[in-house]
Symmetry: C2
Subunit: 443 residues, 2 copies
């Protein structure tokens, strides 16, 4: 019998835990699930005979060490910044680890030690990063094997709400970490286009957007991710002239979100004194030039032609022109905005989410023909627990963990799913769950 | 004989060292001046019999301790972030310290220890902070003593170029730390107006500006400083409805500088790969939306009505549309811009700088009359060494140090020049150097 330890039983762990338990008898697994909330763990494990539900406190060194020692495979669903104590223990006690997070500098530095210990620190094995790596590398390797050369690669992903649950003017509800949504894009987006580096700072990130179309699903806004450049090396396309990664939202979202960016309401670096004594309208006034007109009129004048009637209606729908008290005390503007959005953009029990991913490849074939290939994925959630986000983050982790425990992955050290031995079986099994990319070719 | 140790002999130390040496015989002082550059120290001390010129390495603990031990008074002209080792040694060896820097959190935490050691850690005793504190508190205390109540206090300061040396379209040359000029205002400006908090983020700081007039010197652009709120407590005017501090530039500067802010060229948080292989025009292109027109046409289209012909001519004068190689390798955009500006905005040997400060007070008198009081200071430099900046930063430090050595300041611990025992004699002696505020009253 193999022991799997899952740390964290939040929303994105639902499909992961379900998969592990469903395979536990056939694979002879005992699955321990730990979270600060035992209730959450019990909901997710549902008295399954192969499940062990525990209260898990990541700051308790003794418990963490004991649990990792008794495991064969650890899956950490902790926030990205909290993996390191787990990863170090995994190296120390020679246990495999899987996460859906980016390889941090500290994680990367464990590579040699992990290799020496004979274990895998499998990272970036969720949706984005995760399925994006696997699906992109499959196409890229294929083009290279056929003697082709990539000239352009653009890749987009968004966690959205399904059309049937899309009942607010933003076309957005939270299926993922709300804080990340509010702070998204801060810094400067860096990409390369026709061989020239491009830098797009946050103050105009949501104004210089692309429009992406996914057949059968319509159009989407796409804003550039912060880092597109480092993927060139990861994907073995260092010389590619055009490389861009971006995030998808429903059309019109970016124009409206730009209002908050320009006002300064997404700033998380300072606190508003006595914010609990202010109303949302009053907060808006604090960011608008002085004047005698109404707050709404002032906002219209302030934004000029950067805002249209549709964007204004989105802003208004959030209730920010209302004299309703802010609920958070001494909070940053970003925290206040997040608190309001968590109320307005809440995924309701009957709601379904949807994830959309699209890769756009351009390449020249061996015989110098220009080819375009579009590879698109759309996944809808089943309900509020088994969301598209939980499926597409949790299933790659679960499948990769199974492959590791079955001894099917030879790689050791810090690994991401960009190699054939991982992405081929991973994508094949994901297809059995309806996670299927549609490919379309053109000249 | 009293020993004074001056750490740092750069541009802003010229007037300080001159004053100390001129008073050294009468006051019975030996003045040690230390800097990494012995040449700089020798230039500034000029073989004066009471001067001791040394090479000083702030990272050499032994030397720092030895020199501080033999001093009675230490004056640190180091960058603000480098004072702490000096300050801790001053507390340990019971020596007074003076700096022209803001009281950092760490400096503030030394207050109790400094009091126990019976010494003064005198900070914020230059121009801004320094002369601004002293001159503002003189007026504020006076208004309060006469039973008046302040309703508005706005205060502005700028290190500029004198009109006779103003021969570039920006009306600006560096008389002060160039890096601070390039990064100025990053974050969010916070102030209060008519009882309402106002937040002005960096992305529009240079578009929402004030115009300030100083009699006989014309008009100036004024952009808001990052922090105006904390001065309410420092100045004992916690309940004041309007409080704003700002920075002065020649008219039109802000509109042109906004181009760099909007483009993203003042960002210091990431490096441009292989920047040394790029030209300035190419760099600009990397920040502009793609298109077929010239770089200049693209910039005009990109800025829209946020840029006028005058601003464009300022930008063009810097040579950023030229295909001239960038000199710095793998540098941040801010570093590249700073390097270019240091060449273009260099204070020439024949140039004179100028500092301008203006306080605008509004108050109600004891008998409920509304009064306005404008207090303005303009100081021109003598030459490139005894600049207005060096005078107005160095003389307050020198005078305060003399007062401390003469035992005329009773305060102990972390002190700034906002109390009468300091600002009265300080302002009186500054007047003998032509540093005189002009007051103007109106109803």
């Amino acid at each position: 019998m193999k022991n799997i330890l899952v740390i964290g039983a939040g929303r994105s762990a639902s499909s992961l835990i379900k998969y592990l338990l469903e395979h536990s008898t056939a694979e002879n697994w005992s699955v321990t699930v730990g979270d600060v909330s035992l209730e959450l763990v019990k909901q997710k494990t549902n008295n399954h005979p192969n499940a062990r539900a525990i209260v898990f406190d990541i700051t308790n060194d003794q418990q963490r060490e004991d649990e990792i020692k008794r495991a064969d495979m650890v899956i950490s669903m902790l926030p990205a910044t909290m993996h390191m104590n787990v990863a170090r223990d995994c190296v120390r006690f020679k246990k495999h680890l899987a996460t859906a997070s980016y390889v941090s500098k500290e994680m990367g530095e464990l590579d040699a030690e992990a290799k020496a210990a004979g274990i895998i620190l499998m990272n970036e094995t969720g949706l984005d990063p995760g399925i994006d790596h696997a699906s992109a590398m499959k196409v890229i390797d294929d083009i290279h094997e056929q003697g082709g050369e990539l000239t352009s690669f653009k890749s987009f992903c968004g966690g959205l709400v399904a059309p049937e649950s899309n009942d607010n003017p933003w076309g957005y509800k939270f299926s993922w970490n709300p804080r990340n949504v509010v702070l998204a894009g801060q810094g400067t987006a860096q990409y390369i286009e026709h061989g020239e580096y491009k830098y797009l700072p946050y103050n105009r990130l949501f104004t210089q957007i692309d429009t992406i179309e996914v057949e059968g699903h319509g159009k989407f806004d796409a804003y550039a991710n912060r880092d597109s450049l480092s993927y060139r090396k990861l994907y073995n396309i260092s010389g590619i002239p055009t490389m861009l990664r971006g995030t998808l939202r429903m059309p019109g979202y970016c124009k409206a979100w730009n209002v908050f960016v320009k006002l300064g309401l997404t700033d998380d670096t300072y606190k508003i004194e006595a914010s609990e004594s202010m109303t949302y309208r009053w907060l808006l006034e604090a960011y608008l030039p002085a004047g005698k007109s109404t707050t709404k009129q002032k906002l219209v004048a302030f934004m000029g032609n950067e805002m249209d009637a549709e964007a204004l209606s989105k802003i208004e729908w959030l209730g920010v022109f209302e004299d309703r008290k802010i609920r958070l005390a001494n909070a940053t503007p970003a925290q206040i905005l997040q608190d309001l959005l968590e109320e307005k953009w809440k995924l309701q029990p009957h709601d379904k989410d949807m994830i959309v991913m699209q890769h756009l490849f351009e390449y020249t074939t061996k015989d110098k023909k220009t080819q375009k290939l579009t590879s698109s994925l759309v996944v809808k959630g089943e309900d509020q627990v088994y969301t598209a986000m939980a499926k597409t983050v949790g299933l790659p982790l679960a499948i990769a963990s199974k492959m590791i425990l079955q001894g099917k992955i030879k790689a050791r050290g810090v690994v991401i799913p960009t190699t054939k031995e991982i992405y081929e079986p991973l994508l094949a099994e994901l297809e059995t769950f309806g996670i299927v990319f549609e490919e379309k070719r053109a000249n």
